[in-house]
């Protein structure tokens, strides 16, 4: 039973099948959005691709291939084969290493020649010379497979015992030596959480930027206490810190934090450190929620030298109404309606510290080293056995020259020719000399590390399957693999993508009108349309108004998709109302409008994102509201929903 199982596991068909199965699963996993790494929207799009697709995804765990039973089973089977093969290879390696050659063994050599030459030896006895070069080459395959085993074992140990954690700390804050001190932990299946032996205080964040706004450098200065003694340490991107209990490192998550205090009559002040998130171009934004449904939208800019920002843009909203917009400095107290107050206490930096513990890392790295060493030995260090026998025959000598490379035999033809010439043989050896029939079969098959006397090799060679059918099978496999790549690489439908583009644009621009915040539209609008919207928001702010708009329905009529431009026609229904800044009271009547629109999207030069370049009405808009709220509405407005504020074009 055990022998039969071993036989199956080391069968070439099974091994190649296992590799193909793993490759296929990897292709699927790499081509389809996977839970854990893909966004929710991508996963939803995959699951909404149709009932058949959804069934397939569910049945075969296609949205979490690398954690599926299929993948585990394929990996387990491949590991079992790898184990059996590696043991076998090391056994053969031991034999091949010790093997002492006899001249008779060279009868099967792929290169051999016998010729006569005038006597040159001073002795009457036959001369025998046997040698082996690059003996280490035979260890290549065994080492490579051992390395693979190491890596798989390391991966398994990592899944079981490793742990990852993150903590966002503000300058001056301390990470306690407890598991709960971290913001989040991801321990392995049977691993405990990360807990450093000493408290770590974040003293200072050193950060600076390129002129383009990209992060140039990030260093985090820490104070680590142990046994009552405090020592200064530093972690930076790609420079970790080893501590008792794991290692600490940083990515590139950093930014200023706004230390806020909400005060409400009769209640204790609520303090919050709002970690402002990077929005590109050294701009950082965040939101803080206060009492009575109020929330403060915060924004600041950091200079290229990475100094702490001195001012903070604050927009306080209550529901959809803008209550207050101002620029605050550390120490400022903002008065809000109903006697509420919002204080800005300071703006230190925050940084995300990451903790990791993986005690099997050495095993993985050893595995990588073995794999690389094995690959080098297989292809660059080829074992070659040589034999020269010179037999005196009076005034002549019979010379037998043979060369037996372990693999890539034809490459040694020139070498053999030189060897023959060195021993007085003919100048030109026309072709590789064939060995006697049974052994030749083995030699042409590129013997593996067993050397060339392995009975298994001979048996498989003699009884092996038809090479042509196998070759076409492999070719078919590769073609199928590539075909699958083509199929699974297809993107979502044009209408679906157009809908998401239009929805994203509308939700961002609607929020910009609501908050009276022009900067929000930067990620979705090109310069031409941007200027128009900025002007309209500005005019409203001057009048002390904001626009609260809601998209009620959206229908994509057509999509004209070109490489650098998308033209999307839509039918939309909107509800609008104007709100007074400060009180949030509605000004004028509400309006229910219907439009047919044409959106022209163009790619941004900077990051190749689709931006709205222009918006047109393609038919007369149907406007619900009869009375204009403000004089500016008499002008023809076009573009974003917020432009369509109740007045038909004149």
């Amino acid at each position: 039973m055990r022998i039969a199982l071993k036989k199956i596991l080391r069968s070439p068909k099974v091994i190649v099948g296992e590799i193909l199965a793993l490759a296929l699963l990897c292709v699927i996993g790499a081509s389809l959005p996977q839970a854990g790494s893909a966004t929710d929207a991508e996963l939803a799009r995959l699951n909404n691709a149709g009932p058949v697709v959804a069934d397939l995804i569910k049945a075969f765990s296609l949205d979490h291939v690398f954690r599926s039973g299929w993948f585990c089973a394929a990996t387990l089977l491949a590991t079992a084969s790898l184990w059996v093969v590696t043991l076998e290879q090391f056994r053969r390696l031991r034999l091949a290493w010790k093997q002492r050659h006899e001249p008779s063994q060279f009868r099967s050599a792929p290169f051999q020649m016998e010729f006569e030459r005038p006597a040159q030896l001073a002795q009457a006895e036959p001369l025998l010379k046997l040698w082996t070069e690059n003996r280490a080459g035979v260890a290549g395959s065994a080492l490579l497979h051992l390395g693979l085993l190491f890596v798989i074992c390391a991966g398994t140990l990592r899944a079981l015992f490793s742990a990852q954690a993150v903590a966002d700390l503000v300058e001056g804050e301390t990470l306690p030596p407890t598991a709960t001190g971290w913001s989040a932990q991801w321990p392995g299946l049977i691993a405990g959480p990360i807990r450093f032996a000493s408290p770590v205080r974040l003293d200072r964040v050193d950060v600076n930027f390129y002129e383009t706004g990209d992060l140039r450098e990030l260093k985090v200065n820490l104070a680590v206490s142990s046994n009552g003694v405090e020592r200064q340490e530093q972690v930076a991107v790609n420079r970790d810190l080893r501590l008792s209990g794991g290692r600490m490192y940083v990515g590139s998550d950093v930014g200023p934090a706004a230390l806020l205090e909400w005060e409400q009559a009769g209640l204790a002040p609520a303090r919050e450190a709002v970690l402002l998130a990077d929005k590109g171009q050294r701009r950082y934004e965040g939101v803080s929620s206060g009492a009575n449904g109020m929330r403060a939208h915060l924004r600041t800019q950091v200079d290229t030298a990475g100094n702490q920002p001195s001012v903070l843009e604050v927009r306080v909203m209550k529901g959809n109404a803008l209550i207050l917009t101002t620029v605050a400095r550390a120490g400022d107290i903002l008065q809000l309606p109903n006697g509420e107050k919002l204080s800005l206490r300071g703006m230190p930096f925050w940084a995300r510290l990451r903790g990791g513990r993986d005690s099997s890392l050495w095993l993985a790295y050893s595995g990588f080293a073995f794999i690389m060493a094995g690959a080098v030995l297989i292809f660059a260090v080829i074992r070659v056995d040589g034999c020269v026998v010179i037999t005196p025959l009076g005034d002549r000598e019979r010379v037998f020259v043979a060369l037996k490379p372990q693999r890539l035999v034809p490459l040694f033809q020139e070498r053999f020719q030189r060897l023959v010439r060195q021993h007085g043989g003919p100048e030109t050896v026309v072709a590789m000399i064939s060995a006697p029939e049974p052994a030749r079969v083995e030699d042409q098959r590129e013997p593996h590390s067993c050397g060339d006397n392995c009975r298994g090799c001979v048996r498989r060679a003699l009884t092996g399957p038809c090479p042509e059918s196998r070759a076409s099978g492999v070719a078919l496999g590769i073609i199928l693999l590539l075909g699958l790549v083509g199929v699974t690489g297809c993107g979502p439908s044009a209408a679906g993508e157009a809908r998401s583009l239009v929805q994203r644009y509308n939700s961002i621009v609607a929020e910009a009108y609501r908050r009276g915040d022009v900067k929000l539209i930067d990620p979705v609008v090109g310069p031409k349309e941007g200027k128009k919207i900025a002007g309209l928001i500005g005019v409203r702010l001057d009048l002390g108004l904001t626009l609260d708009s809601h998209l009620l329905s959206l229908e994509i009529s057509s999509v004209d998709r070109r490489p650098d431009e998308w033209r999307v026609r839509t039918r939309e229904q909107w509800r609008y109302r104007d709100l007074r800044i400060g009180t949030g009271e509605q000004v004028g009547e509400e309006s229910l409008d219907s439009y047919e629109m044409l959106y022209v999207f163009k790619k941004s030069d900077e990051d190749q994102a689709w931006l709205v370049d222009e918006i047109q009405f393609i038919s007369e808009p149907i406007i619900g509201r009869k009375t204009p709220t403000w004089a500016g509405e008499r002008a023809p407005l076009r573009g974003h929903a917020g432009d369509k504020t109740g007045e038909p074009r004149s």
């Binding site: 990852q164 790609n238 292809f379 196998r470």
Partner: protein, 275 residues
């Protein structure tokens, strides 16, 4: 003259010289003038001078190695491929016909790169690592080795299909060409393995894990597995030379897709670095 104008002029000078080299190789081999092969090599080697200068100008202008943009990556890949080709032909002059396939391939790669956006991008701090240098360098070496192996595979297929001509006859027999095809693929396998290994160590340093099933990581594993299938099939099933050649072409295509195409198709951590 601005840095970019200088760099572009040098790049195009290199393209012109490489094209001259390719034409000279074609003339020498197709019109049976073997003595001209040496000249063709010199013309091609002369192309390396402006090409090296262009890469140096780029390095000093942007302050980092060629691994941020298609423009930089393809240009440096071409440089490595041409150097590898010339070194091989210099060591084995009878293999000059390989240049007929490999050199146009390299010129196409460079031409494609030169028509992409050359605007320099800032180097994020995560890319400042010695392991990244190894990761990128060995990837370029792998691409060079794959280009040579696919060139040998094309020559092999030509021979197996009964093609004849002075330049084909100059080459050794099909069995030797096949062995070289496998050897180049083997070197590609070594370099690809090292690329994955160095990338894994760098990923652990930067992102806290050496393997995360990121789509490009996974595709690089698929390429590696495809090579493993081909090499195992050759050993176990004694596949014919024709199948080996087609398998080599498939592995090359897969490696090109992994390095140059898939980062733009599948959302990946690598996409951000290679626009």
């Amino acid at each position: 003259m601005s840095n970019f104008t200088l760099e572009a002029s040098l790049h195009w000078a290199a393209v012109v010289l490489y094209m001259g080299g390719a034409v000279a190789f074609a003339y020498a081999l197709l019109f049976a003038r073997p003595e001209k092969t040496r000249g063709a090599m010199w013309v091609t080697a002369a192309g390396l001078l402006p090409h090296s200068a262009a890469l140096a100008v780029r390095y000093f202008a942007v302050g980092h190695g060629p691994y941020m943009l298609k423009y930089e990556v393809l240009s440096s890949n071409t440089w490595i491929a041409v150097v590898m080709l010339l070194v091989f032909i210099w060591r084995k002059p009878s293999w000059a016909p390989l240049a007929l396939v490999a050199l146009p391939g390299a010129i196409l790669m460079m031409g494609f790169g030169l028509f992409t956006n050359p605007e320099a991008r800032s180097l994020p701090p995560s890319l400042r690592s010695m392991w990244l240098v190894f990761h990128v360098l060995f990837n370029k070496l792998a691409v060079g080795a794959f280009l040579l192996s696919v060139a040998a595979a094309v020559v092999l297929l030509r021979k197996l299909n009964g093609g004849s001509g002075h330049w084909l006859d100059k080459l050794p027999g099909a069995e030797v060409v096949e062995a070289y095809t496998v050897r180049f693929l083997g070197f590609g396998f070594i370099f690809w393995t090292t690329t994955i290994g160095a990338g894994a160590i760098w990923a652990n340093q930067s992102w806290g894990r050496y393997w995360g099933w990121d789509p490009i990581e996974t595709w690089s594993l698929v390429t590696w597995l495809a090579m493993a299938v081909l090499l195992h099939a050759r050993i176990f099933f004694r596949i014919k030379a024709r199948a080996t050649a087609w398998g080599t072409v498939a592995c090359f295509v897969l490696s090109v897709l992994t390095v140059l195409i898939f980062p733009f198709v599948f959302p990946s951590m690598h996409s951000a670095y290679f626009q």
